[in-house]
């Protein structure tokens, strides 16, 4: 690893040496009251990793139950709660926090700012998200006793009406779902406002929008998208609460209300939401692939345009989740077209990443291993997405295990893989230590193998007619061995994730000292010390191109000559 030394004094830490903070309470207190973007970013990350493990535990139980037909490991009530909580946890308590983890930690450093635009709003947003998660998980013990898992939501993470009406969901399970997510939604809205204001208003001198690192661009677009889509979910959940507690009729089919309108509102949020979740993966790929290929990103303006394009088009595809509800043929056809169109800018991004690697000198360290797997898996997921956009074929595949395979290819194959890439990449910056390379390789290969064991086969069992959300299945349907194989793959992935957790802790305590710039990278965050001082930069940086550190390291051939 080349560690560059730069003639820039931004890395000088001018804070006077502190007395050793021996007291645990003082340290914890400083984290609890912090408004510093770096600490809050790490707290979002810790929250995401924690809930990743919890959601993972839920799905391991699910896979044990499904490994054999007519199994009795979980009762139907518990199974239904577990898959509802698994989905809700992964989307709202892992996916969204990951967006804000990377945004908070990296964006101010990349744009040469001292902090986010609204540091106190930042802290408020984190704690609202966290408390929302606590409220959601309190449902397990809130009433009904532990066996049967209390009142945890059991209506799938979509919470379709009228299953969520008081008549069909007595008790408080649905209320925990709605209220906890309203709380996290407030935190998400605050985070999105903060990100947009930060990127627009806090860039250092010379960093025009077209000079900004792609991660910051993608987080800007991501938060802009969030602004428009998170509140529709809040609106729908408020309507649900009004129905359940004030006798409202928004989704009351007996009073002339419509079950479909819940679906429209939910998916107007739900589809753009999955783009919100995948943008950090795009962002990380756009940072890691150039550095490890030793080349500038190919087609920066096209990448920006594609990202903005994806965000806009994603607002118009939602009813491809509703091809089977009985829309008109014209309605179905429209959403087929819009869905296929959103595949175009997405494909353009893949091509640009490939072109970045082309002609490079690729170093396959751990971040790049994960990013390469991401490229392969994201390609596959995009193609199965095209398959699902073909409405008549969707009439067969909808709500089958094929769909589960498709979206886990994105959520795990793209998002989780690149989250790992991002963690291995920025862990040295945040902690000053490198992560263990050997443990990293074990982590990568086990996770890759387990992932493909589970999710490749899952496509096939969907072709064989296995639907979602079933706690058991008939033994004569031909799904037995496939499910067992899928479950074993899940165990392999779990082992890999445990190795990763161990690596995190080991590296914190014994990792090699990293220095400012262990990867020989080119964006501003690598000009600070590792970890950066509280104030980030001693003097405000001035930049002239997209890769300020490349310009410094290659004064004979700076980027601004070519851009």
């Amino acid at each position: 690893m080349a560690d560059s030394t730069l003639p820039i004094d931004a890395s000088l830490d001018l804070t006077p040496p502190r007395e050793r903070e021996g007291r645990l309470l003082e340290t914890l207190h400083s984290w609890v009251i912090t408004i510093d973007h770096k600490k809050l970013g790490l707290m979002y990350m810790m929250m995401a990793i924690f809930f990743l493990l919890v959601g993972g535990a839920e799905v391991i139980c699910i896979r044990i139950q499904l490994a054999l037909p007519n199994n009795h490991f979980l009762s139907p009530q518990v199974f239904n709660r577990f898959f509802t909580m698994h989905g809700t946890t992964m989307v709202f308590l892992v996916g969204i926090p990951l967006v804000f983890a990377f945004t908070n930690y990296v964006v101010p450093l990349q744009i040469g700012a001292r902090d986010m635009a609204f540091p106190r709003l930042n802290a408020f947003s984190f704690w609202m998200t966290f408390f929302g998660g606590m409220l959601l998980y309190y449902s397990f013990i809130g009433g009904g006793g532990l066996y049967g898992m209390g009142n945890a939501p059991d209506v799938t993470w979509w919470a379709y009406a009228p299953l969520t009406a008081r008549a069909f969901s007595p008790g408080h399970a649905t209320d925990y779902w709605a209220l906890a997510l309203i709380v996290t939604g407030i935190g998400t809205l605050g985070g999105a406002i903060n990100t947009v204001a930060t990127v627009i208003c806090m860039r250092c001198k010379g960093m025009t929008l077209m000079n900004m690192p792609l991660l910051s661009w993608l987080m800007l677009v991501d938060s802009g998208l969030l602004l428009v889509v998170i509140t529709p979910l809040t609106a729908a959940q408020v309507m649900l609460v009004i129905d359940r507690y004030l006798g409202g009729h928004f989704f009351d089919t007996q009073a002339g209300g419509s079950a479909l309108i819940w679906m429209h509102f939910f998916w107007i949020f739900g589809h753009p939401e999955v783009y919100v979740l995948v943008f950090p993966a795009f962002a990380i790929a756009s940072e890691v692939i150039p550095v490890f290929s030793r080349k500038a990103i190919f087609g920066y303006p096209a990448m920006v345009a594609a990202s903005v394009g994806i965000a806009f088009v994603s607002l118009g595809v939602w009813a491809h989740h509703m091809f089977t509800v009985g829309m008109t043929s014209a309605g179905n056809a429209f959403f087929v077209l819009s869905t296929m169109l959103v595949g175009i800018p997405t494909g353009i991004k893949i091509f640009n990443w490939l072109a970045t690697m082309w002609g490079g000198k690729i170093r396959f360290q751990i971040p790049m291993l994960f990013c390469t797997a991401f490229l392969f898996q994201f390609l596959c997921a995009g193609l199965t997405g095209i398959m699902l956009s073909v409405a008549p074929w969707n009439w067969q595949l909808h709500n089958s295990y094929f769909v589960i395979a498709h979206f886990h290819y994105i959520l795990v194959g793209a998002i989780v893989f690149n989250t790992f890439a991002g963690i291995y990449y920025w862990f040295p910056k945040a902690t000053g230590r490198m992560m263990n390379e050997t443990l990293g390789k074990w982590h990568f290969w086990l996770f890759f193998i387990g992932f493909h064991m589970t999710f490749d086969i899952m496509h096939y069992v969907g072709f064989l007619g296995m639907p979602r959300w079933i706690y058991t299945y008939q033994a004569d349907r031909g799904w037995n061995h496939l499910n067992l194989f899928i479950s074993i793959g899940g165990i392999v992935q779990a082992i890999a994730v445990l190795i990763f957790a161990y690596n995190l802790i080991w590296s914190l305590l014994r990792g090699k000292i990293a220095g400012n710039d262990p990867w020989d990278a080119w964006t501003l965050e690598w000009s600070t010390s590792s970890p950066p001082p509280d104030y980030n930069f001693a003097t405000e940086p001035v930049v002239y191109s997209r890769r300020p550190l490349w310009d410094l390291k290659h004064p004979e051939d700076p980027d601004w000559k070519y851009e």
């Binding site: 089919t253 479909l260 490939l354 909808h398 007619g465």
Partner: protein, 347 residues
């Protein structure tokens, strides 16, 4: 040397794998216990299969090109120990390339979209021929109600439809309603699925071309026993269908030897939920039992209909289907025996 191995052996292996895959899920003739979408026995399912092959060819081609490029890049441009420390040539972009790999996907999308749209209209807006049979499907938590308005039949959980052929077209047009929450009717060998949504009637048509039993299940989460809301569609030859219809149209058989059981049925609140045509029992909340014994299964396809299972079901529905909406009626053994005997006469 590696390259040589790669070329020959891998090619053979690849082709064999593909053949095995497609044969494995190839078009089977007739019904099977695995509800595969690739064993169509009816026009909608068959058309979808053909469309899917077309799409797979296109996506397969894209996959091989892009994954091939990725593989090539990973091997060819790997940093090697012998490399010097210089950076490779920095290429910032190319407008021509960007246009090229925008235009080509657009063309692919146009082709895919037009093909897809044509099939959407063909299947969804297919006109209903005069020879079609009309069936109304009502989804309940966790069973299926079938009404044949033109034939005066009300049945449950096992759908009988006539065989259709090119010489004698007799498709079945389903109208789908829901009595409570959202459900979804999915029998993969016959058609794509369609949802049953309260206050929003939907339609589906099938024209099954091979007789036999086709299976499926509810595909939209509807509550605790969603997993056991199974579908059984019996495609009958013309004779079989006529016989079934004739039997279903009869009112419930009155057999004096099971009068005790019938009295239990009528006094123990069974008739609040269940109907037996020709008697005082007219309940609509649970399945119609007029011809219970004409079915192969109970609990919406979950267990075979045998005397023991029937008795156990009445004694404790939760023992088969925990969370089922049928309550245990707290009957003693004698009552259970009499009641079961009565029900066994409802052929």
């Amino acid at each position: 040397m590696l390259r040589q191995w790669f070329r020959r052996t891998h090619r053979i292996a690849l082709v064999s794998a593909m053949v095995a895959f497609w044969v494995g899920i190839a078009w089977a003739e007739g019904p099977q216990s695995t509800p595969s979408i690739y064993a169509p026995a009816s026009t909608p399912a068959g058309e979808i299969q053909k469309l899917s092959y077309f799409v797979l060819e296109i996506t397969g081609a894209i996959f091989f090109v892009v994954a091939g490029l990725l593989t090539y890049v990973v091997i060819r441009f790997r940093a090697r120990g012998t490399d010097d420390a210089s950076e490779p040539a920095q290429i910032y972009g190319s407008n021509q390339i960007e246009i090229a790999w925008t235009v080509i996907p657009v063309l692919i999308v146009v082709v895919l979209f037009l093909t897809t749209a044509r099939m959407i209209f063909a299947i969804q807006d297919a006109p209903k021929p005069k020879s079609a049979l009309s069936v109304t499907v009502v989804g309940h938590q966790f069973w299926w109600e079938y009404r044949y308005p033109d034939l005066g039949i009300v049945a449950a959980n096992e759908l009988h439809v006539p065989l259709s052929s090119t010489q004698d077209e007799k498709p079945t047009f389903l109208k789908l309603l829901s009595a409570d929450v959202d459900h979804s009717f999915w029998v993969p060998q016959l058609a794509g699925k369609i949802d049953l949504i309260p206050n929003h009637p939907n339609e589906l048509w099938i024209d099954p071309m091979h007789p036999g039993l086709y299976v499926g299940q509810c595909a939209q989460f509807c509550g605790v026993q969603h997993a056991n809301m199974l579908l059984r569609v019996y495609v009958d030859t013309p004779d079989q269908f006529a016989a079934w219809v004739k039997n279903q149209q009869q009112p419930g058989l009155q057999d004096a030897s099971v009068a005790a059981g019938r009295r239990i049925f009528e006094t123990q609140a069974c008739m609040n939920c269940h109907a037996v045509r020709g008697t005082a029992a007219t309940g609509r909340f649970g399945p119609d039992l007029t011809h219970l014994m004409s079915r192969d299964t109970i609990a919406s396809g979950q267990v075979p209909l045998t005397k023991e299972n029937l008795r156990q079901w009445i004694k404790s529905p939760d023992s088969f289907k925990p969370g089922s909406l049928m309550p245990a009626m707290q009957l003693n053994d004698g009552q259970l025996d009499q009641l079961t005997a009565y029900l066994e006469t409802l052929k």
